[in-house]
Symmetry: C2
Subunit: 225 residues, 2 copies
């Protein structure tokens, strides 16, 4: 379908232009921006709830939450103590840079250390849309199966970190961490895989360390916004 | 992003035209066509494996398998005894009618009772692309959470049946079948929900009955193809 590919390229190019402006704005404000993507129900919101609770006294954090419908996830994040702005995509399959620019009206970026963007639950389309972020995280979960990296390679290839959630269900789901890690290595040899259970709290320290290191790497404001 | 919406409408209209031709072709051949969609890892392939094994002596069946990458799922279905033709979407987020038309070269439709189309693992985009099917099935799984119907309403609204898989993990995943069913009812009051575990086999009889009834409703060839 070459027609479709041409149309999509034009859309992505326009998005890239806006994303470059966003990236510049994040840098001037000195805020780390992390874009989280996953299949529906892998645990992006649970990860942000845990992050809100654990890192609130270290960092000034906020979130942008993309959903097709409802504001359930945004409310969960707010209840966990992190300000969260909802973007309702009305059925749209990914967040784009224009939507993020609009949502940023809710925040003074200079007053933030970290902004998390929780993308629409979709392991395919969000990967094609740059939001100007510093770091991209794929959240995968054990019941989805250990073949997800090889079956959805684009999302993994463009990620800076994989959070493998629901390790508490791994045995019952017949999940092989070894097969999963081998799949990740085939796609991107140096991509870190952090095994966690947002439910039991196991492994979350590794995620909090990763966030703190990413925050340190971005540093402080380059200039006044 | 009105520009995007206009472009997508043109694509969907062209797809609808081809889908109408497909629907006509299915009817002339008297073959029931079922389009399965779900999040990544919900269990579409496992359901087709079980169907291949259990219904092989009742129906002449075949499958079309859509994946971003690899032919793993197609091989699983073939190993279970059902002919399967792979469509590799090269990163594309859904199957479209044109791809199905090309894949149909592999089959003589008159020699089939049922054709299953396993869509790309994505709970958003496949819902917008008619493949001419008689029945649309959403496969959901308990570890994804009981909020999926309200959070991804379009896929559920356009479905004729929901297969709720991985009931064996429901308790460990903290899944409420009641909340899930209430969400489904809010979106489409008469949408049947079949609870199954492809792993243990529990509940699969209900699915096999649903398939047999759908097959009966479609009937025999309307005319020679």
């Amino acid at each position: 379908m070459p027609k479709r590919i041409r149309l999509d390229k034009a859309i992505v190019t326009e998005n890239d232009r806006l994303a470059a402006r966003l990236a510049d704005r994040y840098d001037r404000a000195g805020v780390l921006v992390v874009n989280l993507m996953s299949s529906p129900g892998a645990g992006k919101t649970s990860l942000l709830e845990a992050t809100a609770r654990r890192l609130a006294d270290r960092f000034r954090m906020a979130a942008i939450e993309g959903d097709l419908a409802t504001d359930r996830d945004a409310r969960r994040i707010i209840d966990a103590g992190m300000p969260c702005r909802q973007i309702n995509t009305s059925g749209g399959c990914h967040l784009n840079a224009k939507q993020v620019i609009q949502a940023l009206d809710a925040y003074r970026l200079h007053d933030l250390d970290i902004l998390f963007i929780e993308n629409v639950g979709n392991l395919v389309c969000p990967a094609a849309f740059d939001l100007g972020e510093h770091r991209r995280v794929v959240v995968s979960s054990t019941p989805e199966g250990d073949d997800k990296p090889v079956k959805y390679p684009v999302a993994f290839r463009l990620a800076d970190c994989v959070v493998l959630n629901k390790t508490d269900l791994a045995e019952a789901a017949g999940f092989s961490a070894e097969a999963f890690r081998a799949g990740v290595r085939d796609i991107k040899a140096d991509l870190p895989v952090l095994e966690v259970s947002c439910k039991t709290g196991e492994g979350l320290t590794g995620w909090f360390q990763w966030v703190a290191e990413a925050r340190k790497a971005v540093g402080s404001p380059a200039a006044a916004e």
